[in-house]
């Protein structure tokens, strides 16, 4: 398959480019905009100024975390379609706890990030548990939990835990101590300082390499991959499939939740219902384009981050609705669905 993937990889890249530019052009023409103007605004909006580059990297980061989480689950043979809900819950936990319990910086930031990871991890552990204990289909479970996560957090920030000034549906502003450096703010005055290394983008890249190493070079990673690619052989080789499923889902959710926390801590500085424009779903495309390999997912997240940030500019300057980007992303997922042909595993 590795050989086949390399051959298929070139074909897939061509397909993605055709889909993006082809369908994108058609959509732009429908909106009475010339594709040259549309794509021009897109790319210019992604890289034109230092602030725009920073925006692209921030969008890339927001996709990178959930994509890594999704990749871990997919490699374990589990369909985690619930990264969106895990991310939202992580962001909420970070926003609320951070505002609720002011702490000095060296405690506040870890607390906020940890809260996000734990919340997301718990949300991922639920379908993991259902799968491990009952053999329940995690596809439907994660889809249900996505909706429940949105409803739950909406209820909390419009009701009992609402903290926003003027009755706004959000948590209180995050104290400065709990904020991690924001690339966009740094880009306004681009001199390299240590703060650059603490931005979520760098954290995500480090995480990606750590995960790559874990998958490729540890016993845990070996067993996780075996469970994903040949579950029956893995079972007979002494691997506990139920426990692997649970841990993989929890880890997947935790990484996505961490992503939500970095959105809150790194830029938004509060939680509200507009936290995620569907990062958890777009991240599926990112994970697939990256071939479920953490290193390539970094590259893919930058590509999709470019589409996300450029898309905003494209709407503002060329008048092409942003939804074109998401539409194209969905089609890319269909086109690349061949990269994740599931092994013969059954669950209800």
């Amino acid at each position: 398959m590795i050989a086949a993937l390399r051959k298929g990889a070139l074909r897939d890249v061509v397909v993605v480019i055709v889909v993006v530019f082809g369908v994108g052009s058609i959509a732009m023409l429908l909106a009475h905009v010339s594709p040259l103007d549309g794509f021009g605004a897109l790319f210019d909006g992604a890289f034109g100024t230092p602030e725009e580059v920073a925006e692209t990297l921030v969008q890339a980061t927001n996709l990178l975390f959930p994509a890594l989480g999704i990749a871990i689950a997919f490699r374990a043979g589990l369909f985690n379609i619930g990264a969106e809900g895990q991310l939202i819950l992580g962001g909420f936990a970070a926003g609320w706890l951070g505002a609720q319990f002011p702490l000095p910086p060296y405690l506040a930031v870890p607390m906020v990030l940890l809260a996000g990871a734990l919340a997301g991890g718990a949300w991922g552990a639920i379908p993991g548990f259902l799968r491990a204990r009952f053999g329940a289909n995690e596809v439907i479970a994660t889809l249900m939990l996505n909706v429940i996560a949105v409803l739950l957090t909406t209820y909390l920030v419009t009701g009992p835990l609402q903290q926003g000034g003027g009755g706004a549906a959000e948590t209180a502003a995050l104290p400065k101590a709990a904020q991690i450096p924001d690339l966009i703010a740094l880009a306004a005055d681009p001199h390299f300082t240590l703060a650059y290394l603490l931005t979520p983008f760098v954290v995500a890249i480090v995480l990606a390499f750590v995960l790559w190493r874990v998958l490729a070079r540890t016993v845990f990673g070996y067993e996780l991959r075996a469970a994903g690619e040949a579950p029956e052989a893995a079972r007979r080789a002494g691997i506990d499939l139920g426990r692997t499923a649970f841990v993989a889902m929890a880890l997947s959710g935790a990484i996505a939740g961490l992503g939500g926390a970095t959105i809150v801590s790194g830029g938004l500085h509060r939680f509200n219902t507009g936290l995620s424009p569907g990062y958890g779903f777009i991240a599926i495309a990112v994970a697939l384009v990256g071939n479920l390999d953490p290193r390539w997912i970094i590259v893919a997240s930058i590509a999709f981050g470019m589409l996300q940030s450029g898309g905003i500019a494209m709407q503002a300057e060329a008048g092409v609705p942003r939804e074109v980007v998401t539409l194209v992303t969905g089609l890319v997922i269909i086109a690349l669905a061949g990269r994740r042909v599931v092994a013969n595993r059954r669950s209800t």
């Binding site: 379609i81 009952f134 596809v139 439907i140 479970a141 889809l143 697939l288 669905a337 599931v342 209800t348």
Partner: protein, 291 residues
């Protein structure tokens, strides 16, 4: 009429209204999965049906033409998934997820294109109350018809054969890929009626996110209905009941989001209870690749 009786009838009536789109979607899912293709894209097909039917009804002034267009749109989306699943042999769950994302974004894009405003369309000619009742009755008729077709007709037997063991079906001379393709597309046509119902029968417009995950609840209904049309209909009624409860309980002061979450929580709980006790068609979700 006695007040409790009125309340009960109201809830029953609301259950039927809420369950109907689920029934259509679930029936489409049953047909598809019995042939061996998991259709995660039901949500996208509902969206396509809902959106297209509104646009065409608004343009032509005829809700009937709108409904027809909605069905065609649903079939088109189903055909994309069916092609990917049968000819390309890709992962059906991932492809279905992509379809949903594309459909939602496509409809949002369409809203801006056609109505120059995001969020919702204008009001269009719709089916009104009689039409709503027709759709509800039709749902049960389709359920019965599908049950009959699957169990008593030659085509139904071949569909079931392809869902259990496409290799064996092919050795009997059946074209498993073509059979699967047809089943998914016909299933898409049925499911899209659920979307048409949402926008043109229950209401008279399309709004962003109006399908609200019903396509996913329908998938749960397929499982709890043990992959039979009548069973899925029953499961859809069950979930519809929870959605109907939402309105009565809301008046009792329970927070609206908790109520809205009821059907999804019900699906989650039932999933845990049912899993492992029901058997899907043996080749469900497994791409068939000819040697």
């Amino acid at each position: 009429m006695n007040a409790t009786l009125a309340a009960v009838l109201a809830i029953l009536g609301l259950t039927l209204v809420k369950a109907t789109p689920l029934i259509y979607a679930a029936l489409g899912g049953v047909l598809s999965e019995r042939a061996g293709v998991v259709n995660i894209g039901l949500e996208g097909i509902l969206i396509a049906g809902a959106f297209t039917s509104v646009v065409v009804s608004g343009a032509t002034g005829s809700p009937l033409l709108g409904a027809l267009a909605g069905v065609l749109a649903g079939m088109l989306l189903a055909a994309i998934l069916a092609y990917a699943a049968t000819r390309l042999g890709v992962d059906q769950i991932v492809a279905g997820t992509g379809l949903n994302i594309a459909a939602l974004a496509g409809a949002a894009f369409g809203l801006v294109l056609v109505y120059h405003q995001p969020g919702a369309s204008h009001e269009v000619p719709a089916f009104g109350h009689t039409g709503e009742v027709v759709f509800i009755v039709l749902a049960f008729v389709v359920a019965a018809a599908l049950q009959f077709v699957l169990t008593r007709t030659p085509w139904g037997l071949r569909v079931r054969a392809c869902g259990e063991d496409p290799g064996a079906a092919e050795s009997a001379g059946i074209d498993a890929l073509k059979t699967r393709f047809r089943a998914v597309v016909i299933g898409g046509a049925i499911a899209s009626l659920g979307g048409v119902y949402l926008s043109l029968a229950e209401l008279d417009l399309y709004s962003d996110g109006m399908t609200a995950g019903r396509g996913f609840i329908a998938l749960a209904a397929v499982i709890f209905g043990r992959w039979t049309p009548l069973g899925a209909t029953g499961a859809a009624l069950f979930f519809g009941f929870f959605a109907a409860l939402q309105y009565s309980l809301q008046r009792a002061g329970v927070p609206s989001q908790l109520m809205q979450a009821l059907p999804y929580l019900a699906a989650l709980v039932a999933l845990a209870g049912f899993a492992g006790r029901v058997r899907a068609p043996a080749a469900d979700g497994i791409p068939y690749v000819r040697q």
